[in-house]
């Protein structure tokens, strides 16, 4: 089992004929992902990675019902592509591009809420249910990271996800689903919104969140724990604990203003809510062992 996608999810790829689109679509299919069609305006009638290409999402869906859309278009065209899927009724959309304008990010978020849809990204490597399906550009071939198993992972980072997940795997665990919500200031989906899905997933025993300084996503996770919207063990690794205030650390969203958004503040909130917070990547595995072997962690 898994959340969001599995081997039965029917996926439409927007921008399938582009260089990036065709390259990663092939990788997605290599993993068993079910790509039913693609769209690129002006290219209807072509076949790409074995999938039929249409001028538009609407035209593709007329022939091929789909559950999810994978968006491979440059950042300035992402908003339009996401709106196209949303307005055609697609309820799960993954978009990778790094560099989506902030105002576009906000409109995407707002449209996702209005349509009760899940938009993952941008500025992410995507999502994977190892061994079943992948949407994005995740290196499923790195076995010490993307080993199937029973730990759910949510992350704001790319390379750091490989780092932390490798520690989870080396501690003896595997991954049920890994969701990269991305490093943008206004991601399409927020950590806390995914917790109920992991809560319901019988194959997920615990969740790891890979967070960082800035924003309030980790605080919202703490609120969800306090409100018992998630009751399985939760371990967090947060980067930027020693980052100076007021400096934007790489990701556009990774900035502390005032006394909010610090890793210490987030750690306190999470620990008070019963989560375990790792100081170093390796600790994530250790704490997970502790959490899964121990009794009722939130007494």
């Amino acid at each position: 089992m898994s959340i969001l996608i599995n081997q039965n999810t029917r996926i439409l790829v927007q921008g399938i004929t582009g260089k990036e689109g065709s390259f990663w679509t092939q990788h997605m299919m290599d993993l068993g992902t079910r790509v039913v069609a693609g769209s690129t305006p002006g290219k209807e009638g072509q076949v790409c990675c074995g999938a039929p290409v249409y001028h538009s999402v609407r035209r593709a869906l007329q022939e091929h019902p789909a559950d999810a859309s994978m968006v491979f278009v440059p950042p300035r065209f992402v908003m339009d592509a996401v709106m196209e899927s949303l307005e055609n009724g697609i309820k799960l959309i993954v978009t990778l591009a790094d560099g989506i304008p902030l105002h576009d990010q906000a409109r995407i978020r707002s449209a996702a809420l209005a349509n009760q849809a899940t938009v993952i990204g941008g500025n992410t490597s995507g999502i994977i249910s190892p061994g079943q399906a992948m949407m994005g550009s995740l290196p499923y071939w790195i076995e010490r990271v993307y080993k199937p198993g029973r730990v759910g992972i949510m992350t704001r980072s790319g390379s750091l996800t490989n780092e932390v997940t490798s520690m989870v795997v080396s501690a003896g665990f595997g991954v049920s689903s890994l969701i990269g919500v991305g490093g943008d200031p206004v991601p399409g989906t927020r950590f806390a919104e995914l917790l109920p899905l992991f809560e319901q997933d019988a194959q997920t025993d615990a969740v790891v969140i890979i967070g960082e300084l800035g924003g309030t996503m980790e605080e919202e996770v703490a609120e969800a724990l306090n409100a018992k919207r998630f009751t399985k063990p939760l371990v967090a690794f947060l980067s930027g604990r020693t980052a100076p205030a007021g400096t934007r650390m790489g990701h556009a969203g990774a900035i502390i203003s005032g006394n909010k958004g610090t890793v210490d503040y987030k750690t306190k909130a999470l620990e008070e809510a019963g989560a375990l917070v790792a100081r170093r990547p390796r600790e994530t595995g250790t704490l997970l062992k502790e959490a899964l072997s121990g009794g009722n962690l939130r007494g």
């Binding site: 950042p75 300035r76 790094d98 560099g99 989506i100 304008p101 902030l102 105002h103 576009d104 990010q105 906000a106 409109r107 995407i108 978020r109 707002s110 449209a111 996702a112 809420l113 490597s125 550009s137 290196p139 071939w141 790195i142 992350t155 704001r156 980072s157 790319g158 390379s159 750091l160 996800t161 490989n162 780092e163 490798s166 200031p185 206004v186 991601p187 927020r190 890979i210 960082e212 300084l213 919202e220 980067s239 930027g240 020693t242 980052a243 007021g246 400096t247 650390m249 790489g250 990701h251 556009a252 969203g253 990774a254 203003s257 005032g258 006394n259 100081r279 170093r280 990547p281 390796r282």
Partner: protein
């Protein structure tokens, strides 16, 4: 990018927001004409991008022409990279209002914030009297609607002419916020005169770097940056932040870079610079290393764990850079991810050892920076 106060105010004025009469002084030679135009008393305001200019003594009132001249000359003498000094008329006011527009990540809506307690630092106000900050969400598709403007102004406690003129400023500030793809548009203080007229006392406008393709380009010269190195890195498109320490970080991936930054500090080391060459920059290992070495670190610590940013490609870049730049300080390199199996062989050419454990690499770098040697 952050705009200087005078640039922000130029855009505010274009959008219909009243600003004080002012003259820009780009060098000492322009001072006399500016003071002729504005007269005294006047405000003398250094155009720097850092906050807290008042506390830092970079914004001052000059009672006389003599005083104004002394201030301006002093600023240019003390700050060789100073962009400009803004000379503004004095505005007499009966009230100071705070106004800002930003984006609310949870709702995906714009957020208009205001307080009748303007002039003070908003973060201080947020801690001390949060109930005095009025917030209003704006649906970007619908825009800032008239009923919202009116509700906002009256809820701020304004009345009559002041309510009307502050509403108009909000409407126009929202126009700037949207048209300019702003991350933040702020006026603090917004002066309200006895007659109820609103005048922007200060102006902040941060334009989203991701939207520069549809925005007016500002030539960003050296004065926009805190240091020569940050200026140079920015021109290369590489995120780079300078600190005072020993260990130059050269990492791919922002989250991983932040983690390494933390680990260096945990281990008692100190960071010379943060440099992130992930994403589209992963083929720029040479440039990245040049930037790191120019900062004269005791050690360069390279950490990567990439997918598209292939380890073998980065390894080749690193080897090439070592051959070209002949660094005198040690290099600790921990490369993982796609293509990692080829790295050992590539490294062999320059005698570099590949680390595979981040914490071990960090401990080694910290030890080397403190005078130890590579294992």
């Amino acid at each position: 990018m952050k705009l200087f106060e005078y640039q922000a105010k130029e855009l505010f004025k274009e959008a219909g927001i009243p600003i004080p009469r002012s003259a820009l002084v780009k060098n000492k030679q322009e001072m006399a004409a500016a003071l002729d135009t504005i007269g005294t008393p006047c405000m003398v305001k250094c155009q720097v991008l850092s906050g807290g200019r008042g506390k830092a003594g970079l914004v001052k009132k000059a009672a006389s022409r003599q005083e104004a001249e002394a201030l301006i000359q002093g600023y240019f003498d003390a700050l060789p990279m100073l962009h400009a000094v803004l000379v503004e008329e004095l505005v007499s006011f009966s009230q100071e209002v705070y106004l800002s527009l930003g984006m609310d990540p949870v709702s995906g809506k714009a957020m208009l914030m205001g307080s009748a307690q303007g002039g003070m630092d908003i973060e201080t106000l947020a801690m001390e009297a949060p109930e005095k900050i009025i917030k209003m969400q704006i649906n970007l598709d619908k825009g800032l609607q008239p009923f919202q403007l009116s509700d906002f102004a009256f809820t701020l406690g304004l009345t009559g002419e002041a309510a009307k003129s502050v509403s108009a400023v909000c409407r126009n500030l929202y126009k700037v916020f949207c048209q300019r793809d702003a991350e933040l548009a702020e006026i603090n203080p917004l002066f309200v005169t006895d007659a109820g007229t609103a005048v922007a006392g200060d102006g902040k406008l941060n334009i989203d770097d991701n939207a520069m393709f549809r925005q007016q380009a500002y030539e960003k010269d050296r004065s926009y940056y805190a240091s020569d190195m940050e200026y140079e890195a920015a021109r290369e498109g590489i995120p780079y932040i300078e600190f005072g320490g020993d260990i130059s970080l050269m990492c791919a991936g922002a989250g991983l870079a932040n983690t390494v930054y933390d680990l260096v500090n945990f281990e008692g080391g100190s960071v010379a610079n943060y440099l992130e060459f992930g994403g589209p920059n992963y083929m720029k290992a040479g440039t990245a290393m040049r930037l790191c070495l120019a900062n004269h670190p005791k050690v360069v610590l390279i950490v990567t764990f990439g997918t598209i940013a292939r380890a073998d490609v980065m390894a080749q870049g690193i080897v090439q850079a070592i051959q070209d730049l002949k660094p005198t300080c040690p290099i600790v390199a921990c490369l993982r991810g796609t293509g990692e199996e080829k790295v050992d062989e590539i490294f062999r050419e320059v005698g570099l050892v590949r680390y595979t454990d981040t914490e071990e690499a960090v401990r080694t770098a910290v030890s080397v920076a403190k005078g130890g040697t590579l294992a």
